[in-house]
């Protein structure tokens, strides 16, 4: 059988202008003529990606944020061209990079079905043929002639997904669409994806939802920093991806190892340390331990105020909590030299699993308007282990928090 997609050595390069907006004015261009191309840096979003996809296969594409997953879908969908390499496509492609692309708030549900269908590549006749099915699936029949600006976000998402679900292309590219709507509708969408896949369609599915990847896909590709890290069966690749994501368990990280970083760096994070209640530096914690996060901050000049946000994510990408300094009544002021800031989390109640921490150092320009000094994704990782006073076998999907509330009972 001939592959339906032959991806051959795809490379995508972007030229990044330092400290400059993505679009330019004529003045910038003229100025650049004299200055030369110093302010530019080449960045490879994708580097030599190759794989063959056979008809009927379901591929999960996983990787960290910014690894190039969406870029790959965009190239296959022809939204953006590859810098090098080629892709041979043997079938009709429909891309679902976002639900409700082209939806117009002023138009009614009915009108948007036609518009959205046309945008996603259906002809007028094809939309007419599927119209009733789309409406049935979306469950919004009563509001069909209401402008969608009056829809709730759930209704909006349902309608949008319904159009997308009835596309029936040979190759379907999906990017995280399942994260819309309420739980019921998410299940229904997953069911629809399953149904579509049983009809022998080829699906490429970018997701941070490892459970969905395991459930839906027959193959999995892991992309890291623009390169293929691993191709294989979903279980094997997902496991490898998970364990690689928490290789650093020594409990500290230096700025040289920060892979995903942006901002002006006027105030920079030099080092981060994780310590337990005994002051030991470690990346492994038991439920009930204390977690002390130590930030070593270096400003390039004197700054009046630096806003700090520390966010914990679990390994599937879900945000556990975002801790703002102001929420604890803390603020870092008058920073002129290196500073050591520490956060103390007593009695850590996270379920066993792998977690990572993002750190953001921001300047507040106005109220609630921030400018990035230093934003580091996946700055450091730690692992929670099942080694607490009350030992219990914890299953996955047992939630994120391990809570032991005070239980009481009385006679009524």
């Amino acid at each position: 059988m001939k592959p339906i997609l032959e991806i051959k050595a795809i490379t995508k390069k972007y030229v990044i202008h330092k400290n400059r907006p993505r679009y330019r004015t004529l003045r910038d261009s003229l100025a650049a003529c004299f200055r030369g191309r110093n302010g530019m840096r080449e960045f490879r979003a994708l580097d030599d990606i190759s794989c063959n996809i056979l008809p009927g296969e379901k591929w999960g594409i996983i990787g960290e944020n910014g690894a190039g997953k969406t870029t790959l879908l965009k190239i296959i969908a022809r939204i953006t061209p590859p810098s090098r390499g080629s892709i041979l496509v043997r079938g009709r492609v429909a891309s679902l990079l976002e639900v409700g692309t082209g939806f117009h708030p002023e138009l009614t549900g009915r009108e948007n079905i036609f518009l959205n269908g046309a945008i996603l590549g259906l002809s007028r006749r094809e939309i007419l043929n599927r119209f009733d099915q789309i409406v049935d699936f979306s469950e919004i029949e009563a509001f069909l002639d209401t402008p969608v600006k009056y829809y709730s976000s759930g209704m909006w998402a349902r309608l949008a997904f319904s159009v997308a679900a009835h596309l029936d292309p040979e190759i379907l590219l999906v990017d995280e669409v399942l994260s819309v709507g309420d739980a019921d509708f998410q299940n229904k969408s997953l069911g629809k994806m399953n149904e579509v896949s049983r009809q022998g369609r080829t699906i490429l599915f970018v997701s941070h939802n490892m459970a969905a990847v395991r459930q839906l896909c027959t193959h999995c590709i892991w992309i890291g920093k623009g390169r293929v890290k691993m191709i294989g069966a979903p279980d094997a690749v997902v496991d490898a991806y998970r364990s690689a994501n928490v290789s650093n368990e020594q409990g500290f990280a230096e700025s040289a190892s920060f892979a995903h970083r942006r901002g002006s760096q006027k105030v920079g994070l030099r080092r981060i340390e994780l310590r337990n209640q005994h002051g030991e530096m470690t990346g492994v914690y038991a439920i009930g331990d204390d977690l002390h996060i130590h930030l070593f901050i270096e400003p390039s000049a004197a700054f009046k105020k630096v806003k700090i946000i520390v966010t914990i994510f679990e390994s599937d990408g879900a945000c556990v909590c975002a801790m703002y300094d102001s929420d604890s009544g803390f603020s870092l002021r008058d920073v002129s030299g290196p500073r050591h800031v520490s956060l103390a989390l007593a009695d850590l109640r996270l379920c066993p699993g792998q977690y990572r921490i993002d750190v953001e150092l921001l300047s507040e320009i106005f109220h609630y308007q921030y400018d990035a000094y230093d934003v580091i994704e996946s700055c450091i990782a730690f692992r929670m282990v099942n080694k607490s006073a009350v030992n219990r076998e914890l299953k996955r999907h047992g939630g994120l928090l391990y809570l032991t509330p005070g239980w009481t009972t009385h006679d009524e």
Binding site: Y23, R24, I76, A77, P81, G85, R92
Partner: protein, 274 residues
Amino acid sequence: MTMTEYEIRYTDRHRFHVREWWLYRDLFWFLAWRDVKVKYKQTLIGIGWAILQPLALMILFSLFWKWAIRVNTGVPYPVFVYSGLILWGLFASGVGSASNSMIDQANLIKKVYFPRIIVPTAAILVSLLDFFIALFVYLALLVFYGVRVSVPTFSIFYALSLLIILVSTLGCGLFFAAVNIRYRDVRHAIPFLLQLLFFATPIIFPLSVVKSESLTLLLSLNPMAAAIHLARVAISIETINWQLTAMGSASSFLLLIVGLVVFNRNEIDCADIL
């Protein structure tokens, strides 16, 4: 839309995928239809705006400019100026909306593939609809002022005029839409350029005002001058100037070719820049 086997690579930017444009014709109509719907939704007089704009300008020019330009226009001044204003309106609004269309539709362009040329072209179609509404008012004015026209002459010359306008609107629109992707200066420059061109085109004054040979030659390069001249030939108030017509048509087609080439070269990576 069946394109069963194709190859994606960077190098095909110099080809025109005409067959593919045809495959996406439904989307073209839907986008134009959406723009029309949205444009007049939540407006009080709706489609009346298409009539009001040239009409208001006509009244303004009739009240004030009539005295400034003391020349014989052949027909009552309101008819004379309106004949130019509606054609100019088509060009100006077409170029204006086409040049901003790529930015307005950035969200769509970054999420779905379709031949990008659909976007500026559909934008122009909306202006064309406005034009046809204004055209009814024009015909009514002709009747009201009792201007005698021969139907065949009118149809032929007016169609020719419209063709030149559409071709140059498409050419300019595509060109500026492409440049606008890279340089946002265009957004500010367009109204200014249109204003300049408005006074450099015989719209509110007749062609006969321009006496100097070299100025007439310069004017022939402006396709709008030829188009408006033809519209006035259609109501028999100007006699046809072949040089102006030929050069105007030629320059309008040249504009179209330039527009197509520039657009085609810039559309490929527009999703990365927008």
